[in-house]
C-alpha cells in the first residue's frame, strides 16, 4: 500500500534501499530455509546433491502437494478443511473396489473425482447456509467419509487394473538418470493452475477478499456464498485427486490411507506463509512448505540413525519458527 503522492509519481521516492514487501517475507524465509537445508544436506551427505534426490521430493509428496493446494484456497478464505485425509481414504477404497468390480477405469476416475467435489460442496453449503463453523462442518465430513470408507472395506484392496498399473509403472525421463512419475507432474500442474487462478482471475481475487474481511467483501457485492462453497468444492476435488494419486502410487486402496494428512497439509500451508486467518499467502508458499517437510524426511533418511519421531518434532519446531515470524511480520504491517 504505497501512498500515492500528489505529483502522481509511480514510486515512492523515499524508498531507495530495496526492502522486500512485507507480504513476501514469510515466503522468502521459507525459500531461504529450503536452500540452507538443501545445501547442508549436500555438504554432509554423499549423493545428496544428485538431482534425482530433489526430483523425488515431488514424487514422494505429490499427494500432500495436491491436497495442500486445495487447502490453501480454503485457508485463504479464512476457513479450514479437516475432511481431506478422510476423502483421500474414501477415494482410494472406492477406486479399488469399483475397479475390482470390473468398472472401466475411465468411468471410475471421473466418478471418484466428482464424488470428492460433491462432498466438498456439501460441506461448503452447510458452512454457508447454516452458518456452521468450518471446523465442525468439515469434522462431520471427516467422520462421514472415513466411516463410509471403513464400511466399504477395512482391508487393503489391491488394484490390478491395467490402466492404473500402466500409469504407476510409467517413468518420465527428465535427464540422464533423472526420472519421475506422472503423479509428480499432475501435482505440479495443480500448483500451476492454482497459482494462475489466484493471481489472475476474478475468483482468485474474491478468495483473497473474503479472507481479508468477509463482511466487507459482502458489502462490496462480491459473491461470498458462492466463492465459499467453491473453495470447499475445490478442496474436496483436490483431496479426491490426491486419493487417486495415492491409489496409483501404491496400486491399492485402504480405508486408513491419508490418516492425519489434513494436518500435514495445514502445516505445509503455515510453513509456506499462508496466514490461517485468511487473506494472505501464496500457493508457491504452500509448495515450498511441502518441499521443506519433504526435505526434512529426506535428510532424516540420509542420516539413517535418526528416529523417525524426529521428523514430527522438527516439523513442530519449524511450525513454531514460522508462526512466530509471521506474527512479527503481521504485527509490523499493522
Amino acid at each position: 500500500m504505497t501512498p500515492v503522492t500528489d505529483k502522481g509519481t509511480p514510486t515512492n521516492p523515499r524508498r531507495r534501499i530495496y526492502r522486500p514487501n512485507a507480504k513476501y517475507i514469510p515466503i522468502i524465509a521459507t525459500l531461504s530455509l529450503l536452500v540452507i537445508m538443501y545445501s547442508s544436506g549436500v555438504a554432509n551427505y554423499e549423493n545428496f546433491g544428485d538431482p534425482s534426490v530433489f526430483v523425488n521430493l515431488f514424487r514422494d509428496n505429490a499427494v500432500l502437494l495436491v491436497v495442500a493446494v486445495g487447502m490453501t484456497f480454503v485457508i485463504l478464505t479464512g476457513g479450514i478443511d479437516l475432511s481431506v485425509g478422510a476423502v483421500i481414504s474414501l477415494t482410494t477404497v472406492l477406486t479399488a473396489t469399483l475397479l475390482k468390480g470390473g468398472w472401466p477405469p475411465l468411468v471410475v476416475l471421473p466418478a471418484v473425482l466428482i464424488l470428492g467435489a460433491l462432498i466438498g460442496a456439501g460441506q461448503g453449503a452447510v458452512i454457508h447456509f447454516f452458518k456452521v463453523e468450518p471446523f465442525i462442518a468439515t469434522l462431520a465430513g471427516l467422520f462421514l467419509a472415513r466411516g463410509t470408507a471403513l464400511t466399504i472395506n477395512q482391508q487393503s484392496i489391491p488394484i490390478r487394473d491395467d490402466m492404473w498399473k500402466a500409469i504407476s509403472e510409467y517413468r518420465i525421463v527428465l535427464a540422464e538418470g533423472v526420472v519421475t512419475k506422472p503423479i509428480a507432474l499432475v501435482a505440479m500442474l495443480a500448483v500451476l493452475i492454482a497459482a494462475v487462478t489466484l493471481a489472475w482471475t476474478r475468483f482468485g481475487r474474491n478468495v483473497y477478499a473474503i479472507g481479508g474481511n468477509a463482511d466487507s467483501a459482502l458489502l462490496m457485492g462480491l459473491p461470498v456464498g458462492r466463492t465459499k462453497i467453491a473453495v470447499y468444492t475445490l478442496s474436496g476435488f483436490c483431496a479426491a485427486l490426491g486419493g487417486v494419486l495415492f491409489s496409483i502410487n501404491s496400486t491399492s486402496g485402504w480405508a486408513l490411507q491419508g490418516n492425519g494428512l489434513e494436518l500435514d497439509a495445514i502445516a505445509a500451508c503455515v510453513i509456506g506463509g499462508v496466514l490461517l486467518t485468511g487473506g494472505s499467502g501464496y500457493v508457491w508458499g504452500t509448495l515450498l512448505g511441502v518441499l521443506v517437510t519433504g526435505l526434512i524426511q529426506t535428510i532424516i533418511n540420509f542420516q539413517g540413525d535418526l528416529n523417525s519421531a524426529w521428523t514430527r518434532i522438527i516439523v513442530g519446531v519449524l511450525l513454531f519458527a514460522f508462526i512466530v515470524l509471521q506474527r512479527l511480520v503481521t504485527r509490523k504491517a499493522r
Binding site: 479450514i80 479437516l82 452447510v126 447456509f129 447454516f130 452458518k131 456452521v132 463453523e133 471446523f135 465442525i136 462442518a137 469434522l139 462431520a140 465430513g141 471427516l142 467422520f143 462421514l144 472415513r146 466411516g147 463410509t148 471403513l150 464400511t151 477395512q154 480405508a255 494436518l263 495445514i266 502445516a267 503455515v270 490461517l276 486467518t277 528416529n307 523417525s308 519421531a309 524426529w310 521428523t311 514430527r312 518434532i313 516439523v315 513442530g316 519446531v317 511450525l319 513454531f320 508462526i323 512466530v324 506474527r327 504485527r331
Partner: protein, 340 residues
C-alpha cells in the same frame, strides 16, 4: 436465559435417552451388582467415558475463552509415555507411593505442555488453533522419543486401578471424572472464575480494560486443559496397561470438540456449559457402544457420529430454526443466538 439453556441441551439429552433405552433392551446386563460392584453396559459406558469427559472439560474451558486445544491427544500420549517409562523402572511396580508420585510427575509434565500452549496464545499472541497445532504435531514425536518407539508394558496393580478399579461399588475412572467435573463446576459457578472466563471469551480487550487479568486467565485454562488431558492419558494407558505413543489419544481432540459443541458451548467463546460437555462426552461414548450393541459393525460408528453432528449442528443453527420453526413460533427467531 434458562429456557434457552434447556432448549440447547434438549436434543442431545433426548438422543442420549433414546440410545440408553436401546441399550437397555439389547444388552444382557444393563446394570447388575456383582461382588459388591456395579457392572453392566451402563457402568461400562460411564467408565469408558472418563477420558473423554476429562479432556472435554479442559476443552470447554479453553473454548470458553475463545480458544481451542488441538494438542490434547499428544499430551495424553506424552503423559502415558512418561508414566509407563517411570513405572517400568521401578523395583516394585506395586508400590502405591511410587505410582502416586509418578502420576503426579506425569500430570505436572502435561501441565507444563499446557503452559507452553498458553504462553504461545496469551503472550506471543498466536491463534490458538495454530499454537496448539505445533504441540499436536511435535507431541507425538516427543512421546515416541520417550518410549523409544516401543510400546511400554507395565504390570503395576495400583496403576491399573485408576482405570479398572472400583471404589464403593463404582469404577475409579468414573469417580475421577466426576470429581474433576464437580471441582470445575464449583470453581466456575460458585466463584467469579466462570464469569471471568466468559468475559475473556467475549472480548479479551474489553476484559483487560475492565481490570481482568485476561492473559493470566488464558494461560491458566491451557494449563488446566493440559493437566486434565494428562490425567485422561493415564487412565487410557492404565486401561491397556501400556503406553502406545501412536494410538493414545489419537483423534480425541476432535471427539472432545464434538462433545463441547453437542453440549451447546459456542466455538467462538464467551459462553460455556460444563454439564453440556459431560452430556456430550457420554453421548459420544454411548453412541459407540450402541452401534456395536445393535449388531452394526463398529466401523459404521463414524457414520453415525457424522449424522449426529450434522443433525445437532443443524438443529442448533439459528438460520434453520428460523426457517423451520419460525412460522410456528414467531418468538424463536428472536431467541435465536449468535451463530456458533
Amino acid at each position: 436465559m434458562t429456557s434457552i439453556f434447556k432448549n440447547r441441551l434438549f436434543w442431545p439429552a433426548a438422543i442420549l435417552v433414546v440410545l440408553l433405552v436401546v441399550n437397555m433392551f439389547t444388552s444382557r446386563q444393563f446394570v447388575t451388582i456383582q461382588d459388591g460392584h456395579l457392572f453392566g453396559t451402563l457402568i461400562d459406558i460411564l467408565r469408558n467415558s472418563a477420558p473423554l469427559i476429562l479432556v472435554g472439560l479442559g476443552m470447554t474451558l479453553v473454548i470458553s475463552t475463545g480458544g481451542i486445544d488441538l494438542s490434547v491427544g499428544s499430551v495424553m500420549a506424552i503423559s502415558a509415555a512418561v508414566a509407563c517409562l517411570l513405572i517400568q523402572e521401578l523395583d516394585d511396580q506395586n508400590s502405591v507411593g511410587s505410582v502416586l508420585l509418578i502420576i503426579a510427575i506425569a500430570i505436572a509434565v502435561s501441565m507444563l505442555m499446557g503452559l507452553w500452549n498458553g504462553a504461545l496464545v496469551a503472550i506471543i499472541g498466536i491463534q490458538p488453533i495454530i499454537a496448539t497445532l505445533i504441540l499436536m504435531v511435535a507431541g507425538r514425536g516427543i512421546a515416541q522419543l520417550i518410549t523409544d518407539g516401543q510400546i511400554i508394558n507395565v504390570q503395576s496393580g495400583p496403576y491399573a486401578t485408576i482405570a479398572s478399579g472400583f471404589f464403593v461399588a463404582l469404577p475409579v475412572a468414573l469417580l475421577i471424572a466426576v470429581a474433576a467435573t464437580v471441582l470445575i463446576l464449583l470453581l466456575t459457578r460458585r466463584t467469579a472464575l466462570g464469569l471471568l472466563l466468559e468475559s475473556v471469551g467475549g472480548s479479551p480487550t474489553a476484559s483487560r480494560l475492565a481490570g481482568i487479568g485476561a492473559r493470566r486467565i488464558t494461560i491458566m485454562v491451557y494449563v488446566v486443559a493440559g493437566g486434565l488431558a494428562g490425567l485422561a492419558g493415564l487412565i487410557y494407558s492404565a486401561n491397556i496397561k501400556s503406553a502406545d505413543s501412536i494410538s493414545a489419544g489419537n483423534l480425541i481432540e476432535l471427539d472432545a470438540i464434538l462433545a463441547v459443541v453437542i453440549g451447546g458451548t459456542a466455538l467462538v467463546g464467551g459462553r460455556f456449559s460444563i454439564a453440556g460437555t459431560v452430556l456430550g462426552a457420554v453421548l459420544i461414548q454411548t453412541l459407540a457402544v450402541t452401534v456395536v450393541a445393535v449388531g452394526i459393525p463398529s466401523e459404521a460408528n463414524l457414520l453415525f457420529k457424522a449424522v449426529v453432528v450434522v443433525a445437532l449442528c443443524l438443529f442448533q443453527s439459528p438460520t434453520l430454526r428460523e426457517k423451520v420453526f419460525g412460522r410456528l413460533t414467531p418468538s424463536s427467531a428472536a431467541r435465536a443466538e449468535v451463530p456458533a
